[in-house]
């Protein structure tokens, strides 16, 4: 009876595990919240080196999340599988015992706070590999059998596509930056003019984009920011156009033209540019007082 109940438990555990795994895969919001909190904790203290910290964080985050080509995570998983298979073969020839030892801590239920482990677990499970994580081996992965790792080939392509959907993470991070931008760079505290704030935002995001671009994840700025940048460029160009139009309409010589006018134009025989002189007499309209010398003498 005891053995039968144990077998039932063993049968029920994979089913429960699959349910939990599906829930974990579907529950993207939990992961999003985790990343957001992680970013908030990491980014809040050093305000002076915001960009550097943010870039380092994003690089590290990208390394954890991003799988390119055949997949670095998959390689790491395979490496660990080989190592674990060697260990199991050398330490205990009875692989069934090791399976029993690892089975109760199956899957994502025992996932740690390390996001890479969580992600690897998800990915490995999507590949169809049987993943076991023991509490003693926090952050390490081991598989019950190496033949199960090489089983799926088609899902790897799907996996690659799903991970390239890291654009979602860019959106998450962008929202995070927009929400915490005041904490990262406080323009008001630094006395930055509103017109210059956009430059800082653009620079910050360009750094982000550059860090992602290195990883091949992002080739352009977010649409909203790209439009803001375009508007600023157009505004600058409009200012210069207005300068041109104003000068054309007023027909005013530039300072350099005025400065160089005395020598060159005199040599060329051209008329020098002069400041306008009023042709209207300031005394116009005032009748001169006629003083007769005789009256003057009589008054004396």
């Amino acid at each position: 009876m005891v053995s039968e109940s144990g077998m039932e438990q063993n049968k029920a555990q994979p089913h429960q595990h699959e349910q939990k795994l599906d829930a974990a895969v579907r529950d993207d919001l939990t992961w999003t919240q985790y990343i957001t909190n992680l970013a908030a904790n990491k980014l809040a203290p050093p305000k002076s080196q915001t960009s550097k910290v943010l870039e380092d964080f994003l690089t590290r985050l990208s390394e954890e999340l991003y799988v390119k080509g055949e997949g670095r995570v998959r390689e790491r998983v395979q490496g660990r599988v080989e190592a674990s298979s060697k260990e199991t073969s050398s330490a205990s020839p009875d692989t069934g015992a090791s399976k029993d030892r690892l089975a109760p801590q199956n899957g994502l239920e025992s996932r740690t706070t390390d996001p890479s482990v969580m992600r690897e677990a998800l990915l490995a499970q999507r590949e169809g590999a049987q993943l076991n994580v023991t509490p003693a081996e926090v952050g390490k992965l081991s598989f019950s059998g190496s033949q199960e790792v090489s089983r799926p080939t088609a899902p790897v392509q799907q996996l690659h596509g799903e991970l390239l959907a890291g654009n979602r993470w860019i959106d998450v991070l962008w929202q995070f930056i927009a929400a915490h931008q005041k904490r990262l760079v406080d323009p008001e505290r630094l006395g930055i003019e509103p017109s210059e704030r956009m430059d800082i935002q653009v620079e910050l995001i360009r750094q982000l984009a550059a860090s992602y671009d290195k990883l091949g994840m992002l080739t352009r700025l977010p649409d909203s920011l790209s439009e803001a940048r375009e508007l600023k460029v157009v505004d600058d160009i409009r200012t210069m156009a207005l300068v041109y139009v104003t000068r054309s309409l007023m027909d005013v010589a530039s300072p350099s033209e005025i400065a160089g006018d005395d020598d060159e134009s005199a040599r060329k025989g051209e008329r020098a540019i002069e400041f306008p002189r009023s042709v209207i007499s300031p005394y116009e309209g005032i009748q001169p007082i006629e003083i007769k010398p005789m009256d003057l003498l009589l008054n004396v």
């Binding site: 508007l231 157009v234 160009i237 156009a241 041109y244 054309s248």
Partner: protein
């Protein structure tokens, strides 16, 4: 030929030169989107020019913008973009429609099919407005 009203041709010329001056002397990085955005901004200027009977040369204007933008956008693309900003003939008077026809005719001679393309577009716009 229709007489130009209020010497608007000079104003239009200065304005376009001003924008080309701004684009040429902009120290930062330009993009095709910026050029097209500027042309969209000039829609009201094009309309005013036509309303003042100014037959401006779109090809010359497109060439100027293209050179100012360091040949980032081809002049044909700019010419089409400018035509796209022209007012719908259905909303213009008869004289203004003639001016618009003269303006587009120069482009049609160089790039045949332009008028047909935009005629369909204007018809759709007129239908939607109705």
């Amino acid at each position: 030929m229709f007489p130009v009203l209020n010497r608007y041709d000079e104003v239009f010329q200065i304005e376009m030169d001003g924008w080309c001056f701004g684009i040429t002397n902009y120290p930062g990085e330009l993009s095709a989107q910026v050029v097209h955005r500027i042309i969209r901004l000039l829609a009201s200027s094009f309309q005013t020019a036509i309303e003042h009977n100014v037959v401006f040369d779109i090809l010359d204007l497109a060439s100027k913008f293209s050179v100012a933008a360091r040949c980032l956008v081809h002049e044909q693309e700019i010419a089409y973009s400018i035509i796209a900003q022209l007012p719908n003939p259905a909303n213009l008077h008869e004289d203004q429609q003639c001016v618009l026809g003269l303006v587009i005719d120069k482009v049609e001679q160089k790039y045949p099919g332009v008028l047909e393309t935009f005629y369909k577009r204007w018809q759709i716009g007129a239908r939607e407005a109705a």
